[in-house]
C-alpha cells in the first residue's frame, strides 16, 4: 500500500515539474507578441526557451506515461472521457514545436508573423485547456461504476473550470515574464518588467476568486481544509511565495523572483494534492465510484518496477537538465543556429 502513496506523491511531483518547467515556456509563448516588437526581439524571446522547451515538455509526456503505468484506470477514464478536450490539447501540442521550428526557416515577415501568432495561440490554448481540465477534476466528473466518464465538451467548459483555466494563463504569463526578465536586457527587459507587476496582480486577483469559489461551492476537495485546518498552510505559503517574488522583482533580483514564482506553482499543486488525496478522479454520480491511489492503481509488482525506474531515471534527468541550464545561463545572444 505504501507504494500507492509514494506514487501518488511522485505523480504530483511530476505534474508540478511540468507546470514549473513548461509553465514558463508557455508563458513566454503567451507574452512574446506583446513584449517583443522587432524581429530581433522576437528571436531573443524565442531563443530564451529555444534550448530547453523540448526537455520541459517531456515532463508532460512522463506524466502521461506514469499515469498509464501506475494508475491505468484513471488514464483510461480521463483520456477517453475528455476526448475532444484532449484532442484540442493535442492540437496545441502539435502546433507549438512546429511553429517555433517553422518560423525561423524563412525570413519573410508575414511568414514569421503568422507562426508567431500560431505559437501564441497554441501556448495560450494549452494553458487554458490544462487549467480547465484541472478545474473539471476538482469539481468532479460523471464517473460511473464501470470507471467510464461520459461528458460532452460543453459540459467541461463551465464557469468554475474556465476560471481556473484563465487563472492558469495568468500564472504562466507571470512565470514566463519573470523568466524573460532573467534572460533579456535593455529596452526589451524594461518593457517586460513594466508588465510584470500587473501580471502578478492579475494572477493574485484571479487566484483569490478561485479559492473563494472552491470554498463557497463546498466541493469534495475542500473537505480536508474545512475540517482539519492544517492544510491551509500550503495555500498560505503560496501567497507568501508570491509576495516574496514581487519583492525580489522590485529589487531587480530576477533569479530569486523566478525561483519564488516556481515555488508558488509548486505550493499550489501541493494544495490541490492535499485536498484531493487519496482521490485522483471524483465522481459526481457517487463518491463510491471515485478513482483513488488505491482502487485505480496497477499491481504492486508494476508499482515497484516503475518506482525503481523513476528512482534511477529522475535523479539523472535532474542532474543533466541542471547542467544544460547552467550551460545556457545568462542573457540570450543570437548565434548562427538560433531560431
Amino acid at each position: 500500500m505504501w507504494l500507492n502513496v509514494v506514487w501518488y506523491v511522485l505523480f504530483m511531483v511530476i505534474v508540478g515539474g511540468y507546470l514549473i518547467l513548461d509553465g514558463f515556456d508557455l508563458g513566454v509563448g503567451i507574452l512574446h507578441p506583446f513584449v517583443a516588437k522587432t524581429d530581433t526581439e522576437r528571436r531573443i524571446v524565442l531563443n530564451s526557451i529555444g534550448p530547453v522547451w523540448d526537455g520541459n515538455e517531456v515532463w508532460l509526456v512522463l506524466a502521461g506515461g506514469a499515469l498509464f503505468a501506475v494508475f491505468p484506470f484513471v488514464y483510461a477514464a480521463l483520456f477517453s472521457g475528455f476526448y475532444l478536450a484532449f484532442m484540442l490539447v493535442l492540437l496545441c501540442l502539435i502546433l507549438r514545436p512546429v511553429a517555433i521550428e517553422f518560423r525561423s526557416q524563412r525570413p519573410d515577415p508575414r511568414w514569421r508573423a503568422t507562426w508567431d501568432w500560431v505559437f501564441f495561440g497554441a501556448s495560450a490554448g494549452l494553458a487554458l485547456l490544462l487549467g480547465t481540465a484541472l478545474g473539471d477534476i476538482l469539481s468532479g466528473v460523471p464517473l460511473d461504476a464501470q470507471g467510464n466518464i461520459t461528458v460532452s465538451l460543453i459540459d467541461l467548459l463551465r464557469p468554475y473550470p474556465l476560471l481556473i483555466g484563465v487563472t492558469t494563463i495568468a500564472m504562466f504569463t507571470m512565470h514566463g515574464g519573470l523568466y524573460l526578465a532573467l534572460k533579456t536586457e535593455g529596452a526589451l527587459q524594461a518593457r517586460i518588467t513594466g508588465w510584470l507587476p500587473r501580471l502578478m496582480l492579475a494572477f493574485f486577483a484571479l487566484n483569490t476568486f478561485v479559492v473563494i469559489a472552491t470554498v463557497a461551492l463546498r466541493r469534495q476537495v475542500t473537505d480536508r481544509y474545512l475540517t482539519q485546518y492544517w492544510p491551509v498552510i500550503f495555500p498560505a505559503a503560496a501567497l507568501g511565495a508570491l509576495i516574496l517574488s514581487a519583492s525580489m522583482l522590485s529589487q531587480r533580483r530576477y533569479l530569486e523572483a523566478f525561483a519564488a514564482s516556481a515555488g508558488v506553482i509548486a505550493l499550489l499543486i501541493v494544495s490541490v494534492a492535499v485536498g484531493l488525496y487519496p482521490n485522483l478522479l471524483l465522481s459526481t454520480i457517487s463518491p463510491s465510484y471515485n478513482l483513488t491511489a488505491f482502487n485505480a492503481a496497477s499491481e504492486a509488482n508494476t508499482l515497484a518496477v516503475t518506482l525503481i525506474i523513476a528512482a534511477i531515471g529522475i535523479p539523472l534527468v535532474l542532474l543533466y537538465t541542471s547542467g544544460v541550464y547552467y550551460f545556457f545561463k545568462g542573457k540570450v545572444h543570437l548565434e548562427r543556429e538560433s531560431y
Binding site: P51, L62, P72, S80, P97, F102, A145, I309
Partner: protein, 472 residues
C-alpha cells in the same frame, strides 16, 4: 462508420504519419555522428560544413517527430481505453520508462546539439549529438519492447477486476525481452539507418545532378553509400530473415496471411508480386518455388502452415498484409541492387559522380526506403489483426466504450487536415533547404576557442587562462 472503425483509421493515420520522422532522427543522426567524428579526427572544414547543413534538416525533422509523437501516447487512452486498462500494468511501464530514460535524454541534449555548434568545441558538440542520437535509439528500444509484447506477450498473468480483465506483470525481464523483441529491434534499427543514409545519398546525388556543392556532395556520398550498401544486404539476408523466422514460430496465422498461403504446403513458394483472391481462396502471382519453406525452416521441403489450419475469424486482413509485406521485401531486394550499382559505378573510375541515371536512382532511393519502412510496420500491425494483443485481446474489444461517432469523426477530420498541411509545409521547407544547399563557413569563425572538455564548461575562468593542451 462506427467509432471503432474510425478509431482504427485514425490510429493508422497518426502512427504512420509519425513514423515518417523517427527513422530519420535515428539514421540521419548516425550520419551526423560520423561527420562529427571525421571532423574531430581530420579537422577538415568540409565535415563541419556537412554537419551544420544536415543539422538544419535534422532539426526540422525532429520538430515534426516530437509534434506527432505525443499524439500516440494520448490516443491509447483516448480511443483505446479498454486496451489501456488491460495493458496499463505492462505497456504503461514501458512507456513510462521510455519517457524517463530516453525522451529526457533527447530533449535535454537537443538544445546543446542544435545550438552547440557555435558554443561548444568539436568534441563536446559531437558528444551532445551522440547523446541525442543514442536517446533516439533508446526511445525506439522501449517502444519496440512494448510493441513486441503486443505481438508475443510474455511475463504476465491475467486478473479479473471490477472494471474488466487486466494483464498483470509477473516478470519484468520476460515482459522486456519477449521472443520477438530481439529480431524486431535490429530489423528496425537497420531500416532506420538505411533511411538516414539514403536521405544523405538522395540529396547529395541531387546536388551533383545540379552541379552544385559538388565536393561536399561527393564526400557525403563516400560516407553514406557504403553504409547503405552493406545494410541493404544485411537487412535482407540477416535481420529480415531473422524476423521472418520469429513470425513463423510465434505467429503462424500472420505468416500465412502475409504470404497468402491458403493451404498448409510443403515446398511453399514465396511470391514476388501477387494478388489474394478472397472469394476463390487462392493467391495468384509470380513466385519463387519452395523459398518460403526455406526462409521459414531452412529446409526446401518443410511444411508451412496455411490459413486452412485456422478459423477464418482469426485471419488478418489478407490483401493488406500481403501487399504491405511484399512491398517491403521487393523494395528490400531493390535496395541491394541500388547498393550494388552504386558500388560498381564508384569503383569503376568514380563514374558514379557523373553518371546521370545512377544519380537519379539515388535521388529516388529516399522515397523507397521511407515506403519500405512504413510497409514493414503495416505488415507487423495488419498481420497482428484481429488481435491488438496477440491471442489475448481483440482490437474490436479494445476501443473506448464512451466514444461517439461524431467525436471520432471530428478528431479524424482535424488530423487529416492538419497533417496534410504540416506535410506540405514540411516538404516545402525541406525542399528549400535542399535547393539552397550547404552554406560555406567562414574560416576563422571563432576568435576565442570554444570549450571542448567538460571541465572547461564548469570552471569559471575563461579558456584563455588554461595552458595550451596537447591536442589529439
Amino acid at each position: 462508420m462506427n467509432p471503432e472503425v474510425l478509431s482504427r483509421l485514425q490510429f493508422a493515420l497518426t502512427v504512420s504519419f509519425h513514423y515518417i520522422y523517427p527513422p530519420i532522427s535515428m539514421g540521419l543522426g548516425i550520419m551526423l555522428v560520423i561527420f562529427g567524428v571525421l571532423y574531430v579526427r581530420t579537422k577538415e572544414q568540409k565535415w563541419r560544413e556537412l554537419s551544420f547543413y544536415w543539422l538544419k534538416i535534422y532539426s526540422l525533422v525532429f520538430a515534426l517527430g516530437i509534434a506527432t509523437g505525443v499524439v500516440q501516447e494520448f490516443e491509447f487512452g483516448m480511443n483505446w481505453s479498454t486496451y489501456s486498462r488491460f495493458v496499463g500494468n505492462i505497456f504503461g511501464s514501458l512507456l513510462a520508462a521510455e519517457g524517463v530514460f530516453a525522451f529526457f535524454l533527447e530533449g535535454g541534449f537537443l538544445g546543446l546539439m542544435l545550438f552547440g555548434g557555435s558554443r561548444l568545441g568539436p568534441r563536446l558538440w559531437l558528444a551532445a549529438t551522440a547523446i541525442v542520437v543514442f536517446g533516439a535509439h533508446f526511445s525506439a528500444l522501449w517502444i519496440v519492447m512494448a510493441n513486441s509484447w503486443m505481438q508475443t506477450p510474455a511475463g504476465y498473468t491475467l486478473q479479473q477486476t471490477p472494471n474488466g480483465q487486466i494483464a498483470v506483470m509477473q516478470s519484468f525481464a520476460a515482459v522486456v525481452f519477449t521472443p520477438s523483441f530481439g529480431a524486431r529491434i535490429f530489423h528496425i534499427f537497420v531500416s532506420a539507418w538505411m533511411v538516414g543514409s539514403s536521405l544523405v545519398l538522395s540529396v547529395s546525388a541531387w546536388h551533383l545532378l545540379r552541379k552544385r556543392h559538388e565536393e561536399l556532395a561527393k564526400s557525403a556520398i563516400r560516407v553514406a553509400l557504403p553504409v547503405f550498401a552493406v545494410l541493404a544486404f544485411l537487412q535482407v539476408f540477416v535481420f529480415g530473415s531473422w524476423m521472418a523466422l520469429v513470425v513463423t514460430h510465434y505467429q503462424p496465422t500472420k505468416l500465412a496471411g502475409m504470404e497468402g498461403l491458403w493451404q498448409t504446403t510443403t515446398c511453399a513458394p514465396l511470391y514476388l508480386v501477387g494478388w489474394v483472391n478472397q472469394s476463390t481462396q487462392t493467391t495468384t502471382g509470380i513466385a519463387v518455388p519452395c523459398l518460403l519453406s526455406f526462409l521459414a525452416y531452412g529446409n526446401l521441403n518443410a511444411p508451412v502452415t496455411g490459413l486452412d489450419a485456422f478459423p477464418s475469424d482469426m485471419w488478418p486482413p489478407l490483401q493488406l498484409a500481403f501487399q504491405a509485406y511484399h512491398a517491403m521485401i521487393d523494395l528490400g531486394m531493390v535496395f541491394i541492387l541500388i547498393g550494388f550499382i552504386g558500388a560498381v559505378y564508384y569503383f569503376w573510375g568514380r563514374r558514379l559522380f557523373t553518371t546521370r541515371w545512377v544519380l537519379w536512382l539515388l535521388v529516388a532511393t529516399i522515397f523507397f526506403t521511407e515506403l519500405a519502412t512504413l510497409a514493414g510496420w503495416w505488415t507487423a500491425e495488419f498481420g497482428r489483426q484481429p488481435w491488438i494483443v496477440w491471442n489475448l485481446l481483440k482490437t474490436q474489444n479494445a476501443v473506448s466504450p464512451t466514444l461517439s461517432t461524431t467525436d471520432v469523426f471530428l478528431s479524424l477530420g482535424i488530423f487529416v487536415l492538419m497533417y496534410a498541411a504540416l506535410f506540405a509545409l514540411f516538404l516545402y521547407l525541406l525542399n528549400g533547404s535542399i535547393q539552397r544547399g550547404p552554406e560555406p563557413l567562414e574560416e576563422t569563425e571563432h576568435p576565442t576557442p570554444l570549450p571542448d572538455t567538460f571541465r572547461e564548461i564548469f570552471r569559471k575562468r575563461p579558456r584563455t587562462d588554461i595552458p595550451a593542451e596537447v591536442s589529439v
